[in-house]
Symmetry: C2
Subunit: 271 residues, 2 copies
């Protein structure tokens, strides 16, 4: 069973996949877009992509790609994230001038980087950053990544746990062509846009309230058409085969200008 | 009259300030946090900070700082953003390996950078990137910035208008210790958190609907406490001295666990 995720070897996406899949063949991809493509073209049965971080919020690119690709959410995986400052062997902490990682990892260590006065450079993933400094053999540049990543690329840990807040979790989702079966403790994700009139969001949310459906997440993203034009991403409890959810979605359809069901899947507790 | 904004000379923040203030003394700051500090400590009467971009969405750091600082919104400024690829004189386009700018500018030119295969490096502002390549005299690295910035730092335009979408606007706000007077066409901004119970957002929005108050923006940001715990940022039409707004806010206060009024100010049309 092939699973596409952000590579190279040693990313947090791979750790998330290891948590969920016992047996699998991992296909490493450079960009989130390529993972959506792999699942759509059936090069892989599943894809694992980050969707939300407790410090930085939504992963915008993942949300945007759901508009372009007709794929479903099969499951979610929640991973504790600990960032460390990694260097090649024999690096002296005081020689470090620059720090490199994925933009989200850099953002999650903002305070640490600011205090240290490092310049920052973007990489495609935390593991990509680790791999780059290992290949370059440069002892003036550090990477941000996990202890697992350090081991894979033969790096030393210069400083442990450098993220701004101790509590740092990332939620990953498993992409598939189909969503999941009813388990009795499920979650459903939906995207919609609203007519430009007063009370439109209130009316839309009313569809859930009437059926006593509990919203667990609401995100608004700019539609890329202009300031003030939003796409809403909503997660709520229940499976799309539940009668209450069926009623709620039927009512919601009459109140939106566009709607796309991303599917139903087992609900994990975030804590 | 002192106005603090992101420097160095030639940033989009400075262009925004030039659009609003006729006479002023500009105080250049390195970070958005320093601008909030300047206004709070009365080093400057006003601060100009970006709050939202039509492609990339909210500027998270600005939203987060409103939780920490008791400052108000005095006005808003909407600026059309055109990004260009800038280099030092006599640069050959084919020698460029890396591109440097503010993370938001890099994100707004994602497709162009991907197609060209450049590595990316973060700077504190678009003008900072331009200044850095000018000072380094390096013809293998390009900056992203405006035509104005190119002129200030004696750079040439290697490629014009490289942003992913033609329509690209950034909304800036003017920070102050006081908000603005009633003009009859005003907007009010408010932050709140909700109790953890079904229908809480619906109930909160009901306070606006009952008074026929038109919401123009809703953003949810993670509270940094955990996944699924959100702070809401809402903009609606009307001034806090309007009777309907007074009623709406009074009702809202009973439905939230925390509320902070960011003030009322003249409403600009986004288009």
């Amino acid at each position: 069973m092939r699973v596409s995720l952000l590579g190279p070897k040693g990313t947090f996406s791979e750790e998330a996949a290891n948590k969920f899949f016992k047996q699998k063949k991992i296909v490493y991809k450079e960009e989130i877009h390529d993972i959506f493509n792999d699942v759509l073209n059936e090069n892989s049965k599943f894809g694992v992509v980050p969707i939300e971080n407790s410090l930085e919020g939504p992963v915008g690119i993942t949300l945007d790609l759901f508009l372009k690709f007709d794929l479903k959410i099969y499951s979610e995986i929640i991973l504790d994230i600990k960032h460390n400052m990694l260097g090649i062997k024999n690096t002296n902490l005081e020689d470090i001038k620059e720090i490199t990682s994925h933009p989200q990892a850099l953002a999650q260590c903002k305070k640490f980087i600011k205090n240290a006065g490092f310049t920052t450079k973007n990489c495609l993933s935390t593991a990509d950053a680790a791999k780059n400094i290992f290949l370059a053999g440069d002892d003036t540049i550090a990477a941000i990544g996990s202890i697992t990543t350090a081991k894979i690329y033969n790096l030393i840990v210069l400083e442990e746990s450098i993220q701004d807040e101790d509590f740092n979790q990332t939620r990953f989702i498993i992409l598939s062509k189909q969503d999941n079966i009813q388990t009795g403790a499920d979650k459903t994700s939906v995207i919609f846009t609203l007519p430009d009139k007063p009370g439109a969001l209130y009316d839309a949310l009313g569809s859930f309230v009437k059926e006593r459906i509990n919203l667990v997440k609401i995100e608004s993203r700019p539609s890329r058409k202009g300031l003030g034009d939003y796409i809403f991403f909503v997660d709520f409890l229940g499976h799309r085969h539940d009668q209450r959810v069926k009623n709620g979605l039927k009512s919601l359809k009459n109140k939106v200008t566009y709607i796309k069901l991303l599917g139903s899947y087992p609900s994990l507790k975030p804590d």
